[in-house]
């Protein structure tokens, strides 16, 4: 098991190096003079020169790269032009909001998609099967920002069930004491039911939006791999041995069908992290996505670069976790390692 983990971590290193190189090159690809850019629009020629020396832009490219990696190693992602605050600090304080939303979105989508896929596979060509196909095709076709807006219109404007789509918590409540940064968990730790409910209410619509967007690949893959598992010899044997249909489907078929589903999670996360940016903008969610969008509007590159890097590192880490999980679930993978 340990050798598997070591091997997987080693395999993730080239990805990480690639990510760092690409984010470095992105800054150097900025149109015009990066020094003039970082000095701001009102800077004089002298100030620009000072910034150039300060940023090391007068050095050759490889020196700049070494310097960039050194800064990264110290967790220094540069300062925001508009606020003057260190980007790393800002990202850290906003990360829990995004993570809470993304994970809940994934939870929603798995909770809908996996049972749907199983039902569709156990009853091929039935109504459930057609519904599964329709929902999964429609799900990938819906622009995620549009789904969010429609949900807001229906559940906030028409029905009045959801609170105003303005951030993580209604202004009447104060956020719970920070432990994990996840409001749902922190308010539970505080034993504050009101805050828990209030933050859950804010979370439901954006999480549902993300869930609808990402359920398609999970449902499709669950259905396909369940079909394959149900057609296999061991399921036939289990059926012939007189096991209950539930045991056959859940214990025998689903456990074997889980592997491809977990593999798809990697792709789902790629979608989710991207969609997160759009959903955060729609719901005025104070996460790292809306931070990046604000920076984009202000043409402030350092926060955006930090954001791209953070997202990419999280994504590499998630894929690594999925790989390791794969090894935990499937003994064959462990033996190969």
């Amino acid at each position: 098991m340990l050798s598997l983990i070591v091997k997987r971590v080693a395999a993730a290193v080239p990805s990480l190096i690639g990510v760092v190189i690409v984010t470095f090159l992105l800054t150097r690809a900025l149109p015009g003079d990066p020094a003039a850019y970082f000095a701001g629009p009102a800077a004089t020629a002298e100030a620009i020169e000072q910034v150039r020396v300060k940023l090391g832009l007068d050095q050759p490219l490889y020196v700049q790269f070494v310097r960039y990696v050194g800064d990264l190693a110290r967790g220094d992602l540069g300062n925001s032009l508009t606020t003057g605050q260190p980007v790393g600090q800002e990202l850290r304080s906003r990360l829990p909001a995004s993570a809470e939303l993304t994970l809940l979105g994934l939870l929603v989508s798995v909770a809908i998609a996996v049972p749907l896929g199983i039902l569709a596979a156990t009853r091929p060509n039935s109504l459930v099967d057609h519904a599964c196909r329709a929902i999964s095709t429609a799900g990938v076709s819906l622009p995620v920002f549009f789904t969010g807006l429609v949900l807001i219109y229906v559940f906030y404007y028409l029905l009045g069930w959801a609170p105003a789509p303005l951030g993580r918590l209604d202004v009447f409540f104060s956020p719970p004491a920070q432990v994990t940064g996840f409001y749902l968990i922190d308010s539970t730790l505080d034993g504050n039911g009101e805050v828990f409910l209030a933050s859950l209410k804010q979370l439901i619509l954006p999480a549902l939006t993300l869930g609808i967007f990402s359920l398609a690949p999970i449902a499709r893959m669950t259905r396909a791999s369940m079909l394959a598992a149900l057609a296999s010899d061991f399921v036939r044997t289990a059926r012939a041995s007189g096991l209950s249909p539930f045991t056959v489907v859940v214990t025998y078929a689903f456990r074997n069908a889980m592997l491809p589903v977990i593999t798809t999670l990697g792709m789902v996360f790629s979608f989710l992290l991207g969609a997160n940016v759009l959903v955060e903008k729609v719901f005025a969610w104070p996460g790292i996505g809306s931070f990046a969008v604000e920076a984009l509007i202000a043409s402030d590159f350092a926060p955006l670069q930090g954001f791209v890097l953070t997202m990419a590192i999280m994504y590499v880490a998630l894929n690594l976790a999925i790989d390791i999980l794969y090894g935990v679930i499937d003994p064959r993978v462990r033996i190969e390692a």
Binding site: L26, V140, L273, G274
Partner: protein, 297 residues
């Protein structure tokens, strides 16, 4: 290739084309969904071609007296905050949205398709370099990488096209590589080599045409994603700028009015976007059934 071989080959391809058409008609007849998607596709193409000439209002002309009016007989889809006709803007936007998607798909076909074919055909270093580039792109959440690219290269429509092409690169490169890898040992490749063709000529003249069907399916399948990606980028303020009519930016403009009940500004462009993507996804599935029935799910 000798002239003697030509007639036979042409005859075979005509036969092949005829068979594909007959198969396509069969699929369209059997599969009402694909036929429906095809009809929708023609409608979108029609809107892109003649839209600007048939719309009832100038898509950019504002009329503050008629601002924020709900759908009526005069304005079938209502008017936006500047009194512009939403229907006209939605129809006119089809051309820009379709052009961005087609351009980015064509570009990624050129980049990813060629790189992938070369990687699969030559193997070795070419394969390793292409594979490494694809892996590096795949290490990013794709939309986030597209954001970074557009922000770095400059906020312009052509950079949206480029960014969408780059994030789709690994998909194309992988499919083309897998196909070319199989074909490089095929009999006709050896035959072409024995006839004295150079490697580049075999690659472009013999291998590439044979993976075209699969690549066309791939293009159709990623077209929907390209539209979504471009619309998403313009939704957060990248690329297309107001007052240009484009579905993503129109939804963004209508977003603020959704909470106060003016649903029509965002709904119609959003629905157009959804229908376009839906249509391309269905069409891609249908095409794949024609070209490669084994992959049907």
């Amino acid at each position: 290739m000798s002239n003697v071989a030509l007639p036979g080959r042409r005859g075979a391809s005509e036969h092949g084309l005829f068979a594909i058409l007959r198969h396509a008609r069969y699929i369209l007849g059997e599969n009402a969904v694909t036929a429906f998607a095809f009809a929708l596709f023609m409608l979108i193409v029609l809107a892109a071609l003649i839209g600007p000439y048939v719309v009832p209002y100038d898509p950019l002309a504002s009329d503050t007296a008629a601002a924020l009016k709900p759908p009526s007989l005069a304005h079938w889809c209502g008017t936006d905050q500047l009194g512009r006709d939403v229907l006209s803007r939605v129809i006119v936007a089809a051309r820009l949205d379709l052009m961005i998607a087609v351009a980015s798909v064509a570009l990624v076909f050129l980049m990813g398709g060629l790189a992938g074919v070369a990687a699969g055909f030559f193997g070795g270093w070419t394969d390793r370099i292409v594979g490494r580039i694809a892996d590096t792109i795949m290490a990013f959440p794709l939309f986030v990488l597209a954001m970074g690219i557009v922000a770095a290269l400059g906020n312009a429509v052509q950079n949206i096209v480029l960014a969408t092409a780059i994030v789709n690169f690994p998909l194309y490169a992988r499919v083309a590589r897998a196909e070319a890898n199989v074909l490089r040992e095929a009999g006709f490749v050896h035959a072409a080599r024995l006839c004295g063709n150079g490697e580049a000529r075999i690659l472009l003249g013999h291998v590439l045409p044979n993976i075209m069907p699969i690549m066309v399916v791939q293009m159709s399948l990623t077209m929907g994603y390209a539209i979504l990606n471009a619309a998403g980028l313009s939704f957060i303020g990248l690329g297309v700028r107001p007052p240009t009519a484009e579905w993503g930016i129109m939804v963004a403009e209508g977003a603020a009015f959704m909470v106060s009940g003016e649903w029509w500004i965002a709904l119609f462009p959003g629905a157009a976007l959804m229908i376009a993507v839906f249509c391309f996804n269905l069409l891609g599935d249908g095409l794949r059934d024609i070209v490669d029935p084994r992959r049907r799910t």
